[in-house]
Symmetry: C2
Subunit: 500 residues, 2 copies
């Protein structure tokens, strides 16, 4: 989840102030409503050191009635705490049904800081993730709202903030040797964080990434996330009261903002001006295709399966990229599966069934032209599945891809990004060219009308399903040459990495 | 789940025939209804070798329209299957929405037979359990009914059946060397089965144990379990159609039979005539109390925590047993927590919160006079919680106790069993004895009226929450001397086992 971020997001003090003037009273009001409805709230602040947890907590509680919340600062375990199961100190701190508990660091210490310090052995990790998920599920089923915020900054910014703190005697104590160590090995610690996010981003207690390079922006996003989650809990409660036997564990994912600046992925920041000359393209294409053919043979020999998915805007260049990717591959060793709307047989099975059927065997390559992500894009937007269905699909898809990678597969997912103008240009070309007219239908134009809706769904998809084992690669697609070479190069690198 | 069984259950051919005359047409009818409602059904047959899986499957399908089901016999993985993620061969066999898939052995091979054969390394076990639970949860959320049957026989019966098969040339091929090996190491294989049952007995896909020493009995129980689960799925579907946004993952657990013979635990078989003379009692009590005091010191020194829970019928002898257990313990090292109905503070927290607060620290002993099992007994019966709440509590409680044992605790749970006559005798004694009158209230008499209902709840509790790490011990309680000594001896043995 930390790979597809745009950390440079900013907000002017003025805009922040204006938004806060709305958000603060809204939060106050919601605190009172949830208290009356007896919905306990748990807010978890995690993230990189010096990302501003303390500052943001102070800012958040400004809007809250102090009789209704408690802030727990979670340090290393005391001797007493060590003599209990690890969640004991958190179970005992769960809020009463009319209270808000705010955690400045939390049970995630165990799988972040303590893991980095190597005081948690690897074989304990999966059990700890399971314990954490069970803890949150139990509270959530009992009616609690769990809001988990991960404050992200980059290595350089962290170093700058540490240096700043260290430069003054009054604040130097706030930076520990361990902080500096985690800064030095930032990418290693980031990977630990990313793994944690993947394992614990559940339907009942999802994570929200807070881009925290800019304090104003972060405050607004935190307020919005907390408010959205509280509102969702009220909706859920009123629905459940209608259907007492059923319990929904699917809150509205917090990243689903209509407000585009608050979205999480770096999609909006993609540099679509990237391009390549025809000569360079030809030259690179030849080299990369040759290299892929070699690597394909080696993967076959070593029995490593490869799964490559292509998604993107209509006319984004999926077909062209797939063609160049496979052009010089041995056809006995790969298969391209185009994904259309499900047929009658597929419709009477689980939506993932048809993809499971086409999982490549060891040593083979399966390329999917459109994929299982249809669930969280077209099916979501067109209402072909229920809200609960697409909301739980992120976890289901991550679980499926995890099984592929655990089995040893290389899994890559490409998102071919173009802008709306480029799409229109390509649509018109298709209509004008008799050889390409089959590629364009009325449906394409209709989908185009829903560009904004798709953008929101794509944003959420990229963040929630970009995992360390099965990453999304955003491909700048306005220039086809550039895009194709980026796809091929990414595939080559992934194969080489695995083989070494 | 395999510890508290009464495998001797039998049914006459006549009774079986009479019941089948009702059950078979009922199953046929349900097959048609579920087909029309587009509810896919998955029936898993697992269990010990020669427990009768083949026979019972043939008997089950007798009632079914052959166009509507498919039987999959799951053997070792083929070379082709080995070259895919392990669930691939099962995903591709999931039934269409108007079909029934019956599995003669299943994905559980991986964590049973293959684990026993040591072809699955220990560190892969938890990931495999997680994959299995995710697989079943995904199908279940999609509307499938998953019925998992575990056919149990004992070692001797298995040997007899193997010998029988081996004695004839026409059937000898059915017994493999591996079968004989699992018979030879029956208790080891049983432990593997028990661990599997604990990890995969979930609210959405619970296990039903089928006592299979007697074929007639087993057939009736299988039919009943399948029918109950199918009926529950219809109820769930109609509820969900009322509340489309919510998804209930809690089917009616299959063991909740009104018909007492079909219940699973060995509670009804307990020999309440067991007793002990006063002299023997005094002699043993003295020795055991002394031993407990010694062991207590050693546990303290080695920082091992102990959690002991007492449940049982009113006037079952909990107080007396606890008194003898603690009489000679160092009071600084243990604490007895009586559990009454929750107070105001406790009521506004999760129902497990008050027990988490009293988790003993390492080296200490916590004794609970009534426990967290109130959720699945009194709260269930008196309607103090919803159906969904007590149904999911089995898993929640198992998860909690697992955290205790993972942390290193010894966890024991005693069920003090007396019969209805003995209870009445004790109630009357209490009423007649001025010193004991405080122990008896109108509520006790009212609970007594619900004896049958409690019996059903206790049966289900004993089966679903008897785990390898935190077993239930049924104590024959009509004779107080016998009962107290059994409690003390069990505690001593558990402590000695841990310390050695």
């Amino acid at each position: 989840m930390l790979e597809q971020l745009d950390l440079t997001k900013k907000m002017s003090k003025k805009e922040c102030k204006e938004r806060m003037a709305v958000l603060e009273p809204e939060l106050s009001r919601l605190q009172r409503t949830l208290k009356a409805e007896k919905i306990p709230v748990i807010i978890v602040f995690e993230g990189f050191g010096a990302a501003g947890k303390g500052y943001q907590i102070s800012r958040l509680i400004r809007a809250l009635d102090p009789r209704g919340f408690y802030v727990h600062a979670i340090g290393p375990e005391s001797e007493e705490e060590k003599m209990h199961p690890f969640l004991w100190r958190f179970w005992t701190k769960t809020p009463a049904k009319d209270q808000i508990a705010i955690f400045d660091r939390s049970w995630y210490r165990k799988v972040l800081i303590e893991r980095f310090d190597q005081s948690v052995p690897d074989q304990k990790l999966t059990p700890h993730y399971n314990e954490i998920n069970s803890f949150e599920r139990q509270l959530c089923m009992d009616g609690a709202v769990i809001i988990k915020l991960f404050l992200a900054i980059d290595k350089k910014e962290q170093k700058k903030r540490f240096d700043n703190l260290l430069s003054s005697a009054s604040s130097a104590w706030r930076v520990s040797d361990d902080d500096l160590k985690r800064n030095k090995h930032f990418s290693q610690y980031k990977k630990i964080c990313d793994e944690m996010l993947e394992h614990t981003d559940t339907a009942c207690a999802p994570w929200t990434i807070i881009e925290s390079m800019d304090r104003e922006f972060a405050s607004v996003k935190i307020y919005t996330a907390v408010i959205e989650a509280m509102k969702a809990s009220l909706r859920r409660k009123s629905e459940n009261e209608k259907a007492t036997a059923s319990i929904s564990t699917d809150p509205l994912p917090a990243s689903e903002y209509s407000d585009s600046i608050l979205r999480t992925s770096s999609l909006q920041k993609v540099d679509l001006s990237l391009s390549m000359t025809r000569e360079e393209y030809r030259d690179q294409l030849k080299k990369l295709q040759k290299r892929i053919a070699e690597l394909h043979g080696e993967l076959y020999r070593r029995r490593i399966p490869v799964i490559i998915g292509f998604e993107g805007w209509d006319a984004g260049g999926k077909g062209g990229a797939i063609k160049r990717l496979t052009e010089r591959m041995d056809p006995r060793g790969y298969c391209v599966y185009p994904t259309a709307s499900p047929n009658d047989i597929e419709k009477v099975h689980h939506y993932l069934w048809r993809f499971w059927k086409n999982v490549p065997k060891d040593g083979h390559i399966a390329i999917f032209d459109r994929t299982w992500y249809g669930r969280v894009m077209v099916e979501r937007i067109e209402g072909f599945c229920t809200d609960a269905e697409w909301k739980r699909a992120y976890q289901e898809i991550n679980e499926m891809e995890k099984q592929f990678t655990q089995h040893g597969a290389i899994v890559l997912k490409f998102w071919l990004q173009i802008d709306k103008d480029e799409q229109e240009k390509r649509f018109r070309e298709r209509m004008d060219n008799p050889d390409k007219q089959w590629k364009i239908t009325d449906e394409d134009w209709r989908n185009r009308d829903k560009w904004e809706e798709y953008e929101r769904a794509v944003d959420e998809m990229l963040v929630r399903t970009s995992t360390t084992g099965a990453p999304w690669i955003i491909v700048e697609g306005n220039d086809k040459y550039y895009a194709r070479i980026k796809v091929l190069r990414t595939v080559v690198e992934a194969m080489e990495n695995r083989l070494n």
